[in-house]
């Protein structure tokens, strides 16, 4: 089951990267995030999976779609960069990075080959999570609420249209 969700997530993430049409790429990322939410459920985190669907797929990506529609950005046109050596080198760098990262992760996993432990209905129960969140992490929670408020004000200030043009 995990393999199915992971494969769907990887395929749609690749579609997101490869498509030139930004709207199509947002929609494939929505599917990838749904599949990731399925992975989270299998990793004993149903609450995080629900947040993933509601906040990420529901709110953040819809915000992306709104901005795309607002700006009316068309598909990206293929364009020669005029820098073939840099393109080649960045391709080699990505392949090397992926190889190193994946081999390191595989070895780190196989050094401690253990199946995911824990009883699912104890680990992922939202009330236990809430108790831990609001006892040990209350200060962090309040800090995040202040951060969200300042991001709201910042987004409003940034996106506001200037009434009188300056200078």
């Amino acid at each position: 089951m995990f393999e199915v969700f992971a494969a769907v997530a990887i395929v749609f993430a690749a579609l997101m990267v490869l498509s030139r049409n930004p709207v199509r790429s947002v929609l494939s990322l929505v599917v990838a995030f749904f599949a990731l939410a399925g992975c989270y459920v299998l990793l004993f985190s149903p609450f995080i999976a629900v947040i993933q669907v509601i906040v990420y797929a529901g709110a953040i990506l819809v915000l992306f779609l709104f901005v795309l529609m607002l700006l009316n950005v068309g598909p990206e046109r293929p364009e020669k960069t005029g820098r073939p050596i840099q393109t080649l080198l960045s391709g080699i760098a990505i392949v090397l990075f992926a190889g190193f990262l994946l081999s390191t992760l595989r070895h780190s996993g196989s050094a401690a080959p253990r199946a995911l432990a824990g009883e699912p209905n104890v680990l992922g129960r939202p009330e236990a999570l809430a108790r831990e969140l609001f006892s040990g992490y209350l200060l962090h929670f309040e800090a995040v609420s202040i951060l969200l408020l300042s991001a709201l004000v910042g987004a409003f200030v940034l996106a506001r249209r200037d009434r009188e043009p300056r200078g």
């Binding site: 995990f2 992971a6 997530a9 990887i10 993430a13 690749a14 997101m16 990267v17 930004p22 790429s25 995030f33 990731l36 992975c39 299998l42 990793l43 004993f44 985190s45 609450f47 995080i48 947040i51 906040v55 990420y56 953040i60 915000l63 992306f64 607002l70 700006l71 950005v73 990206e76 364009e79 990505i94 990075f97 992926a98 990262l101 994946l102 992760l105 595989r106 780190s108 996993g109 080959p113 253990r114 199946a115 995911l116 824990g118 680990l123 992922g124 999570l129 831990e132 969140l133 995040v144 951060l147 969200l148 991001a151 709201l152 910042g154 987004a155 409003f156 940034l158 996106a159 249209r161």
Partner: protein
């Protein structure tokens, strides 16, 4: 089925998603698509954190991911506002054409 997922499998999926996101951030020229790739990389990190948390049998992973998602929402709002403001100034969000700060 649940409870038999090896940790290495979760980490490899997370690493693969991270590399796909990295490719997208380097490949695309549309600023919004680069931003989407960065969101994908953040989600791959979330997957690794949840995998480690579940494998250690603690809830700390879920709490960290909760905060990451909240901060990602703030980041997306500010980033998209920056793109809207940028589009008002330059009429494009192609990162090759936005070179005001380049030299």
């Amino acid at each position: 089925m649940i409870g038999t997922i090896p940790l290495s499998e979760v980490l490899i999926v997370s690493g693969a998603l991270f590399c796909i996101g990295l490719c997208g951030a380097l490949l695309r020229r549309n600023a919004i698509q680069i931003f989407l790739s960065i969101e994908l990389m953040m989600n791959s990190a979330n997957l690794a954190i949840l995998g480690y948390g579940a494998s250690l049998g603690t809830r700390e992973g879920q709490i960290v991911v909760f905060f990451v998602i909240a901060i990602a929402a703030a980041e997306a709002a500010v980033g998209l506002a920056i793109f809207v403001a940028l589009f008002r100034h330059t009429e494009t969000i192609d990162v090759n054409r936005i070179n005001l700060l380049k030299w």
